[in-house]
């Protein structure tokens, strides 16, 4: 059941990512598959976070028309790093979670653009990553994306906490255990 819910979450994230930018221009700054990956990374399960990163990332590549594997690579890595960070550090606080989203968003943008540059596909990077034609513009894009992803995460994480209430409870237990230890 849990697996099915996770698969459905990834599916809806991809669906919304595909649909919404057609109607709301600013939505192209938001990366829902990344946010879902970060959410599962914060559940302290590296394996789960990586698998969500693989599927959400490759799915994102497919819908954006980019090179399959680029988004998958960055999201797998980010999912893993967030999961490891959430195990080692105290990231249960909502503000800490949002800070993680902002850092993950910036890292994802840099990784994404870096991989496209490495593969000499700058022309594709411009089409899948808006307004990244110069270094200054790229800096602005990182900033706007981080802001958009963080703002969206506030609502999305509340919704996902409701859907995955068992995992949210487990996380709360982890906070208590950490506090009493």
């Amino acid at each position: 059941m849990q697996t099915f819910k996770i698969a459905l979450t990834i599916f809806f994230a991809l669906l919304l990512q595909m649909l919404l930018p057609n109607y709301l221009a600013f939505f192209k700054y938001i990366d829902l598959p990344l946010l879902v990956t970060v959410y599962f990374g914060l559940q302290r399960a590296p394996l789960l976070a990586m698998l969500v990163g693989v599927f959400a990332g490759i799915g994102g590549d497919a819908i954006m028309g980019g090179i399959p594997g680029v988004g998958g690579f960055s999201k797998t890595l980010i999912g893993y790093l967030v999961a490891i960070a959430s195990i080692k550090l105290s990231l249960e606080n909502p503000f800490a979670r949002l800070a993680v989203v902002a850092v993950a968003s910036a890292a994802n943008t840099v990784l994404f653009a870096g991989l496209y540059l490495m593969l000499r596909q700058e022309h594709l990077a411009e089409s899948v990553l808006p307004y990244a034609t110069s270094l200054a513009d790229f800096g602005k894009t990182i900033g706007w994306k981080a802001l958009a992803d963080t703002s969206t995460a506030i609502l999305l994480f509340v919704a996902l906490d409701r859907v995955f209430s068992e995992q949210a409870a487990a996380r709360r237990m982890a906070i208590k255990r950490r506090f009493y230890e």
């Binding site: 990586m50 693989v54 594997g69 998958g72 797998t76 890595l77 893993y80 593969l119 000499r120 596909q121």
Partner: protein
Amino acid sequence: MSANVAQRKAHWVLAGLLLGQVVMMSYFARHPDSEQSVLRTWLMTPLSAVTQVADGIISTVTGWIAGYTDLRGARQENIELRERVEQLTGENNSLREKEAEYKVLRTQIALPQLASYTQIAANVVSRNPSLWFKRLIIDRGTADGVKLDMPVATGAGIVGRVIAVGPNFSTVQLITDKYAGAGAMLQNSREPGEVRGLGDEPYCELRSIPSTSVVEVGESVVTTGYDRIYPKGLLIGTVERLEPDPTATWHKIIIKPAAPVDRVEHVFVLLVEKKDLQVEELNR
């Protein structure tokens, strides 16, 4: 594998997943210069360099052995070759004279001069003896100015065209490959058609020649330039045989390539691009 063990081995899983995706992205990404997959460019660039070195060593060793064995008949062969050089020098002078006359005549009847192209020599470093494809790998690439669709030839005739380019290598599709084609015409009757590779044998087929046209065995077939890959007038081969079919509208003509495409070791890449041929086409 229990959940804890799985979590402990997460970094290995991460490495596997990332590696898998690197392979995936590099397979799907197309190199902007060559339009071939980046994975292939990454693999072929070092492999091609190693192949070139190995080919050089093998060629040197076989060259020594062949040089020793060839010495036995060298004196007689030398005499014959000198006679041949004399004869060819005479022919060359005669052709130069005709070429000069031809240029003057073209100018007089207001035809534009045909473009001339530079060419670079290349060694065949590998063959692809696949059942489906007939391809060669040569030791020249983008660093030498080679681009996609450039014609490859020997002194005898065309060999094929470049279908993939790396920094230090190029893949050549032979004219006998079953997916290869070229605009062609019979040299005597000037009847235009299309040459296609036969794939499973070292011959090509000349298509679209009406059965009413007179075709002679041994007649030369040259390029028309209409395909925008091969410049006009390059020798493709000679008519080997005609396969009779009284009911057919078109001749079935089998061509023997003039260049020894199956055993060629050295070739020339003609540094001619589609845009140059378009200009020539417009002029014509």
